[in-house]
């Protein structure tokens, strides 16, 4: 036997089950899964599906912490199942449950639609007056590294819902938008290419806005991508208050313009040319313009 096999230990996956067509209420079911070092929870669930119960339902896709599908509650904390090794979170027993603060579709599948509706309601796209350029771009908008840095970390959000599951305010207040939509609202509020500050400020001025955040900070603590929604919400409050007091510089900014020829610079010294394209007929976007 290999060294890996010697270190394999049995872990009981205590999985919350619920089928709305058959069950009156959720219940827990135990499965014993042999766990070698490095096994992620998602692999453990696949093991259960293949060996014990093919009806076990969850949502997953990329298996590499990018798609945000497999958020679930592991030993009481929201995690991505594909991103969490069993031995990081479990001793002999691993409690696996769907994300709280969401309705349950089945077993470990939360209904993320309300979260995505709230996200959409805050108009989380770059919105500008020059609609034709947005829909059929002729060039890029100019943005400085500093302007990019203001929102960059919030753009890493994968909409997995872990922050929503950890939010104590959202647990009692369904009107509150929650950390993910608000962090994304701030991401576009502060994006220098966006030209709809006042429209956003109006959208965020009610109960859906950031005002009911208690700053528990759990959303940031559980984010698997290192995004800090709690910070975004506090920064959003500051920006909206400054706007109300007519002190916001961001509100007065014109949205970023298109790149001008003088903004362009050649490649830095010492950087070799890109290799030739291996696909016949392919051209670089840079040479097209």
């Amino acid at each position: 036997m290999s060294n890996t096999a010697e270190k394999t230990t049995d872990v009981i996956f205590r999985v919350r089950r619920f089928d709305p067509e058959k069950d009156a209420k959720p219940y827990y079911e135990d499965f014993t899964v042999p766990c070698p070092p490095g096994l992620v929870v998602l692999d453990g669930l696949w093991y259960i599906k293949e060996h014990f119960d093919s009806s076990l339902a969850w949502r997953s896709s990329c298996r590499m912490g990018v798609c945000g599908s497999c958020g679930m509650l592991l030993n009481g904390k929201p995690h991505l199942a594909c991103h969490t090794q069993v031995r990081e979170v479990a001793g002999k027993i691993l409690m696996v449950a769907p994300l709280p603060n969401f309705d349950i579709v089945r077993d470990l599948v939360p209904d993320l639609a309300p979260m995505l509706d709230k996200h959409r309601a805050l108009k989380t796209t770059v919105r500008r007056a020059d609609t034709e350029e947005v829909l059929d771009p002729t060039d890029q908008y100019w943005q400085s590294p500093e302007e990019l840095t203001r929102y960059l970390q919030f753009a890493y959000c994968i909409k997995c819902g872990c922050c929503m599951a950890a939010c104590p305010t959202l647990a009692t207040d369904p009107v509150y938008s929650g950390p993910m939509p608000l962090a994304q609202g701030y991401r576009y509020l502060t994006d220098s290419r966006d030209g709809s500050f006042q429209e956003r400020a109006e959208l965020l001025s009610g109960a859906e806005g950031p005002w009911r955040c208690h700053y528990a900070g759990e959303c940031s603590a559980v984010c698997p991508k290192g995004v800090d929604p709690a910070r975004a919400i506090q920064l959003m409050k500051r920006e909206l208050v400054l706007d109300y007091l007519k002190l916001s510089k961001r509100a007065k900014c014109e949205p970023a313009r298109l790149v001008r020829p003088e903004d362009r610079s050649g490649p830095r010294e010492g950087i070799p040319d890109a290799p030739e394209f291996t696909v016949e007929g392919a051209t670089s976007p840079a040479t097209e313009s």
């Binding site: 305010t169 009692t172 207040d173 369904p174 009107v175 400020a201 965020l204 001025s205 009610g206 109960a207 806005g209 005002w211 009911r212 409050k237 909206l240 208050v241 706007d243 109300y244 007091l245």
Partner: protein, 128 residues
């Protein structure tokens, strides 16, 4: 049209800042007089709640204004916080209106009573 939370929250924060200053003034007058003695706050000397000091302060219009202002901002700050807590209990739309209305009513009544008391104290002190 309902007042937007942006405005209410901004005034909540500003009220907190004003409370910090005015409550600091109150603490300076009533509790920190030995550490930082300021003659204008306790003109008769001695303990801040000595009768002579109480009457002297009550005669000052600035004292009356400060306490009426402190009452107003403290009521706003506290009652807005209470409203937020109650709103998080997820009441129905009708109940939300009732909560807001009751809180505004209670706030206005307490402010009127407190303001009347502050003015009455000054009138009494001026007659003393």
């Amino acid at each position: 049209m309902a007042i937007k939370d942006t405005k209410l929250w901004t005034w909540h924060v500003l009220a907190g800042l004003i409370i910090f200053v005015l409550l600091g003034l109150h603490m300076l007058t009533m509790h920190l007089n030995e550490l930082l003695p300021i003659a204008a706050l306790n003109p008769a000397g001695g303990h801040p709640i000595d009768w002579a000091n109480v009457v002297a302060r009550a005669q000052q219009i600035s004292t009356m204004v400060v306490y009426i202002l402190l009452l107003g901002v403290a009521l706003y700050h506290g009652l807005y916080g209470l409203r937020n807590i109650l709103m998080e209990l997820n009441p129905s739309q009708g109940l939300r209106g009732l909560i807001s209305g009751t809180i505004i009513f209670v706030g206005v009544v307490l402010f009127v009573v407190g303001t009347w008391a502050a003015i009455a104290v000054r009138s009494t002190a001026l007659g003393a």
